[in-house]
């Protein structure tokens, strides 16, 4: 078996007296869509926040592609290959759709402050714009490139978050409830996009409540409850797992 792309072990995060993550371990294999599910408040978003450096973990290892990034700043984690979207949309609302994607490309731009001052960035700027337009076309937002991102409808804002994250050229894309608030048609569109992303070699960690979608697109699924792993396996295994059913329904089925 090959080493996993993302290897998280003993990840713990306390908020004051509340333990949001209690020694979580997850391995994401390269080229897969890995589901992360669990009831509300089980620590899924906290998992993404600690892995991406938004909040520092209390302890644990977070190894991406052989490099431990636990506790490092978000831009370093991004450079190491992890991009993400946010459960509560965090676009650059005052900026255009295109500019949002260009920000994602920032780290890869062949020019920085120096060339802005020496006035030699025309060519580079054209190139990054072409790449950004390509990403927008992939999520079906090319016609919205000049719109202010904050003025887009909700579903399109979620798609833009995905395009912006992809612009950072990640190895692993962590999506925090990308289908929230979408109708079935929009959901199908996103699922198709996710499949295309994986086909291009980007691995996905998918946090999602829409069980139907998770079961159909994920290769493997990890389940959290109260900040602990309670199950891990293929969609079939998870569907038949007693602990998972209990966690979601909040009671134990009567076993004779």
């Amino acid at each position: 078996m090959t080493t996993p792309l993302l290897h998280v072990a003993d990840l713990t995060k306390n908020f004051g007296g509340l333990t949001a993550l209690a020694g979580v371990h997850i391995e994401v294999r390269s080229g897969t869509i890995h589901g992360l599910i669990g009831p509300n408040g089980s620590g899924k978003s906290t998992f993404i926040n600690t892995v991406t450096g938004v909040i520092p973990p209390n302890s644990g290892q977070i190894v991406i592609d052989g490099r431990n990034v636990a506790g490092l700043r978000p831009n370093i984690v991004n450079a190491a290959g992890i991009a993400r979207t946010f459960q509560n949309l965090r676009l650059f609302k005052a900026m255009s759709v295109l500019d949002n994607v260009l920000i994602g490309e920032h780290r890869h731009m062949g020019y920085g402050l120096g060339s802005a001052l020496t006035m030699r960035n025309g060519e580079a700027e054209r190139h990054v714009k072409d790449v950004a337009m390509g990403l927008l076309a992939d999520v079906g937002l090319a016609h919205r490139a000049e719109a202010i991102s904050g003025s887009l409808p909700y579903g399109e804002q979620r798609l833009l978050e995905i395009a912006r994250a992809l612009a950072t050229q990640p190895k692993l894309l962590m999506l925090d409830e990308p289908l929230a608030g979408m109708n079935p048609t929009e959901m199908d569109r996103v699922v198709a996009i996710l499949r295309r992303i994986v086909a291009r070699g980007v691995t996905i960690l998918l946090v999602e409540h829409a069980v139907r979608v998770v079961m159909s697109v994920c290769d493997r699924i990890s389940v959290l409850n109260f900040g602990r792993n309670i199950a891990e396996g293929s969609p079939q295994e998870i569907q038949g797992n007693e602990d998972v059913v209990v966690a979601y329904l909040g009671r134990r089925r009567h076993v004779a």
Binding site: M95, M109, A147
Partner: protein, 326 residues
């Protein structure tokens, strides 16, 4: 943008054609407007685009002014050497002030920058061996320029105007560059920007350094114009005035910085004959702008157009207007 062109063209033409016909006093005012426009642009880089407050820009202005003045008066350095040195030193002070800006924002940063400005002014009063204290520095020479004498104020006006044009160009480049975009992203959402790979610390500190450098440049232009410096010219009032110019003109707008400098510098002079009422009228103007034009005076045109468009839409609900950047 294109809708503004006639207005901008007229303003640029006026700035070129009118000054030779102005009285000595009015000419002095417009030279000061140009110097303050450079200061306001420099503040706008960190505040308007980067969302970081500075109420210490008089400190950068002071360091730039004094450095160039002292080097040319006591060391005999030519302006073309003392001015770049002033920019370098001011940029260094911007680097030092940039680090607190990584930890603190909003009110805290405002207080820290006020403290910075006060310290700079205190040092200029107390380091008598260096600055000559409250007696100040006099006989600062005008910059030498082959073929053109900058001792004439009209010529000096055109000199600072060209400097302003250069800074405007620089700002336009910066704002449109990847760096400017990163700065705006940080202002919008720092965490999201960091998650997209932007080095927030480097970007913020760079903005402070560039802003300080530009303010230092304005300082050198001021010192060699006014030819006499003392600490009084660099009080907290000056920092607040630069801040007002940015707010009144247009936060995050290059043209707004220039308009704001003009209005805030010249309007009080126009209103001065009204004596006591002057403060009242000035206060009312400031409050009106803050309440109804959050984008400053420069946004007046687009706000009015949007109002009119909204009225049209109400009459004809078929035609909606979508928000776009252009």
């Amino acid at each position: 943008m294109s809708r503004h062109h006639p207005f901008y063209l007229a303003a640029i033409l006026a700035a070129i054609v009118i000054p030779p016909f102005l009285s000595d006093y009015s000419l002095h005012l417009v030279i000061m407007v140009v110097i303050f426009a450079i200061l306001t642009l420099s503040l706008n880089l960190i505040s308007g685009y980067g969302g970081l407050i500075s109420l210490g820009h008089a400190g950068f202005f002071l360091i730039g002014s004094y450095t160039s003045a002292l080097l040319s008066v006591y060391q005999g350095w030519p302006f073309w050497l003392s001015m770049p040195t002033a920019i370098l030193l001011t940029a260094t002070s911007g680097l030092l002030l940039g680090f607190p800006a990584l930890r603190w924002t909003g009110h805290f940063l405002a207080v820290i920058t006020i403290a910075f400005g006060s310290i700079a002014q205190l040092l200029s009063v107390n380091w008598v061996f260096l600055t000559n204290g409250i007696d100040g520095v006099s006989s600062i020479p005008r910059p030498p320029l082959p073929g053109i004498s900058l001792t004439s104020n009209v010529n000096y006006y055109y000199f600072v105007l060209i400097c302003l044009a250069f800074i405007v160009y620089l700002m336009m480049r910066l704002v449109a560059s990847g760096f400017g975009r990163a700065l705006r992203a940080i202002k919008d959402d720092e965490t999201a920007a960091a998650c997209m790979g932007i080095d927030v610390a480097v970007t913020k500190v760079s903005a402070f350094v560039i802003s300080a450098a530009i303010a230092g440049f304005a300082g050198a232009l001021y010192a060699h114009y006014i030819r006499f410096l003392n600490p009084d010219s660099f009080s907290l009032d000056v920092s607040i005035r630069i801040f007002m110019m940015m707010i009144i003109g247009g936060t995050g707008s290059i043209a707004g910085s220039i308009l704001g400098s003009f209005v805030v510098y010249v309007l009080p002079e126009v209103l001065r004959p009204l004596q006591d009422y002057y403060y009242l009228i000035w206060g009312v103007i400031v409050i009106l702008v803050m309440l109804f034009l959050p984008g400053g005076l420069i946004s007046l045109g687009s706000v009015l157009r949007a109002k009119m468009a909204a009225r049209r839409d109400k009459l004809d609900p078929q035609v909606g207007s979508t928000e776009t950047l252009s």
